[in-house]
Amino acid sequence: MKNEITLQTRREFLRRTVLGSALSWTVPAFLADTFSALQAQAADSSTQVDTGKDGTILVVLQMAGGNDGINTVVPFANDHYHRARPTLGLTADKVLHLNGEVGLHGAMKGFKELYDAGQLSVIQGVGYPNPNRSHFRSTEIWQTASDTDRVEKYGWLGRYFDNACAGADPTVGVTIGSQLPQAFFAAKPKGIVFNNPQNYRFVANGSATEESYKKLNELEMSEPQPDENSGGSIAMLPAGMPMTGGRAVDFITRTALDAQHSSDEVRSIAARVKNQAVYPGSQLGNALKLVAQLIGGGLPTRIYYVSQGGYDTHTNQLGSQQRLLGDLAESVKSFTDDLKAQGNMSRVLVMTFSEFGRRVAENANGGTDHGAAAPMFIIGNQVKAGLLGQYPSLAPADLFQGDVKYNVDFRNVYAGVLEHWLKTKSAPVLGRAFTPLPVV
């Protein structure tokens, strides 16, 4: 440690003290990596990456289950559409017209307002080659930005953290929920997860207990064990989440460290920052409400991840999709209103995705089965507003196994967001070069 290191935060200080005076071989790789990155960063402060305190912020919104894109951005004037959907088809009077051909589902008034204000971009027909109709595989493809025939263990946001956010605070990525999405899986995992800021703390019956908890969770690392007779096992987990330190307990130790040092900050922001818009009481509404507080409170987060489930509408789709899209539009609109009131609207971009759209023809249960391409929404006051790309043809001769064909590869959208919004090179994150779609 020849360099003079100025450690900016309590956390960096802690990591340094954790490492003590020497980087011994018993220190897990992730800590050593963080430490090296801190050193590099401190040595050359110009390499300091933007943080969510002043830089741009991306909110990824997952519509889980496979949203029926055709009844979301509705081609109400298309005869093929009404022939394929005798009961589910939405007529011109039921949709919010974007032009003479297509309109938003009638429940999406909030999105129509954003569209009219030039703050909503609708990218039509987004998908990928050789689409997979499994929820899990297709979600994995979107989360890892992989080709259909390649299984990647790291997520695209995880690779973004690895490539562009070395040494960043663990709150560089925040998931509101209980599970870390695969998009966050990384060589050097980053990001915190929580549902509820009030419960995001260690409850102690006294200061001695709290001190002991901190010590028990900071200093101890398991000693690496020889990998003899490993039972022929190759990994921890079918989901493919990588293990950094080898033993499960090392992963937990790192998580404990992140929990300890983000919980005070998150709770203090949630208690201090007041929302300036009224949100729906839904899970998505609550999640976005919290994200707005964290942005307003200056958490250095660059990526927020929220999700809304229930889009797997094999039966009786009309009512359930109506409810879901209504909740989506209302929650996002409240969120943008809140950000505007805060003065942060120009720093935040919301991007939606769903693992696939649904079959053009409805099924016999008033629902639709798994399909392929679907629209994505991008929201922000700097977006290229309007309808981007072409609406996929619904003519039976143009379908593949009953599904629409994609016009835009979702990785072109990711590349656009990475290059133009997060200001980072997209090729290292996406594995190869994709032409960035100019989304902003």
Partner: protein, 494 residues
């Protein structure tokens, strides 16, 4: 044949490992009893559980309620809007009460039942055929599926797959009961190949649409609430599925699927991961699959081999599995020799920790492994440890009581939760007077009970520093020390 460890290598630590993985762990006396049985005896004790009587009574409502549901629907039809609301509210309350009772009933079997491996396998099959009450909406069906898993837990793979497919909860969960020949619903046909029996990449899209045709006609008889085949809905034409062509029905395609060599590989990999906490290498998976096939696809003899194998006791396997929330909760009350918290509290903990029984997140079930651990769930485990040991109520929030089908309900449920009283750990029961008085004896005794091994010297030092200022250890001091030991990364693995 998997190579067993030498019976002379059998010891207390291996018995503890076996009880943790083939069951939910237990106090030192139980581990010692298994150790005394020797390897073969210990494995037989856990796997051949039919010999142990299980006196558990079924919930009194655990019988078909088709007539009750019919009457309810009739009553709603003719009711005034006001009466209708009241009827629906009452029905909702019955539903909530029964689901709560069912959760408690099952957790109690895990924590105090005489057949730990059977319950551990029921939990495996529940996660495998992950069916949620949020869509099924019927406690009787959920109980019935749970019993199906219990009855066939160590049975034959083909029989289990077939019966799970025809199970009423599954017929609703994956829409098979509504599939008709003019527009077959592909939901079950897809998941039976992708998630239940073969895995991605071992079938084509065409296999799915063809299997969906063959499966038409599988339906649910609403009054008797059981499987029925409806020839009217069945597609009688030829189908080609997984390379075979014929006028197949649903039973035929299930047999074709489970007859694939991949079906044995798929399920043994998943069982290995569940019990050993690791994904098997390709070669090891092949060995496991060969063992299952050699035993005629019967799980019981396969598990006998698995629990005696060298690989199962390898250092990389031991104390390297993240406890699932259920394992964490049930294992804790077993090790601490206290009672499960009231079901409302137990259920609340499991929900917050990410394993809501009878309500898995989706048909893939819980990912498990290190995905159980996030910054959020880790802190929650640490706080729930305080609840279990010191009897404090965990922090609650309205968010956890958001209304959704099968959920606990809103504000009223939260108030009910706030009235719950939790017990404390009885330190006199689990520690000798010497251990309670002498810090030098206390810490090792607790380590053996909670970890079956030692913590690092640094952690032991921290615990000593916590206890040293106290001249005479009170019950509360010891409880806090236990809670602290449970608030470590080390306690989250077994």
């Amino acid at each position: 044949m998997l190579k067993p460890i030498s019976s002379t290598d059998w010891d207390y630590a291996k018995a503890a490992h076996l009880l943790n993985r083939a069951g939910f762990g237990g106090p030192p006396a139980e581990i010692q009893a298994l150790a005394d049985l020797g390897l073969d005896g210990a494995v037989a004790r856990l796997v051949d559980y039919e010999k142990i009587p299980d006196p558990t009574l079924n919930p009194d409502w655990a019988k078909p309620n088709g007539e009750e549901m019919r009457q309810f629907r009739e009553a709603v039809k003719t009711a005034t809007p006001e009466e209708k609301k009241k009827l629906q509210r009452e029905e909702q309350q019955v539903f909530q009460r029964r689901m709560l009772e069912l959760r408690g009933w099952w957790l109690q079997r895990m924590a105090r039942g005489p057949r730990p491996l059977q319950e551990k396998l029921v939990l495996f099959w529940h996660g495998h055929f992950a069916t949620s009450v949020e869509k099924v909406r019927n406690p009787y069906f959920m109980w019935r599926q749970n019993e199906l898993f219990r009855r066939l837990a160590t049975g034959a793979w083909p029989q289990l797959l077939l019966e799970a497919g025809k199970d009423p909860a599954m017929l609703i969960w994956l829409d098979q009961g509504q599939s008709k020949k003019d527009h077959p619903n592909e939901n079950f046909a897809r998941e039976v190949m992708e998630l239940f029996a073969l895995g991605e990449g071992h079938y084509t899209e065409k296999d799915i649409t063809e299997a969906a045709r063959a499966l038409t006609g599988w339906s649910l008889e609403p009054l008797e609430q059981k499987f029925i085949f409806r020839p009217r809905l069945h597609d009688d034409g030829n189908k080609t599925c997984l390379g075979r062509t014929g006028n197949f029905n649903g039973d035929d395609v299930i047999q074709i699927i489970v007859g694939q060599p991949q079906a044995a590989r798929f399920i043994t990999a998943k069982l290995w991961n569940y019990f050993a906490g690791q994904v098997p290498s390709e070669a090891w998976n092949e060995t496991l699959a060969a063992s299952l096939r050699a035993h005629g696809n019967q799980f019981k003899p396969f598990l006998h081999e698995l629990f005696r194998s060298e690989e199962f006791y390898a250092p990389a396997v031991r104390r390297n599995q993240v406890k699932s929330p259920v394992q964490w909760l049930v294992g804790s009350v077993r090790m601490l020799e206290n009672e499960l918290p009231p079901t409302l509290a137990s259920w609340g903990m499991l929900r917050q920790l990410g394993q809501d029984l009878f309500a898995p997140p989706n048909v893939k079930g819980w990912d498990g492994g290190i995905t159980w651990i996030t910054t959020n769930t880790l802190l929650t485990r640490y706080n729930d440890a305080q609840s279990l040991v010191e009897g404090t109520l965990p922090p609650l929030s309205a968010n956890d009581f958001a209304k959704k089908p099968g959920g606990p309900g809103g504000e009223k449920a939260m108030k009910a939760m706030q009235r719950v009283r939790l017990g404390k750990v009885n330190v006199e029961k689990i520690l000798t007077p010497d251990q309670r008085e002498d810090k030098g004896l206390l810490i090792p005794a607790l380590e053996q009970r909670l970890f079956q091994t030692s913590l690092t010297s640094g952690q032991e030092q921290t615990l000593r520093e916590f206890l040293n200022p106290k001249t005479k250890l009170s019950e509360a001091d010891i409880q806090t020390a236990i809670r602290l030991m449970m608030s470590t990364p080390d306690y989250q693995v077994a």
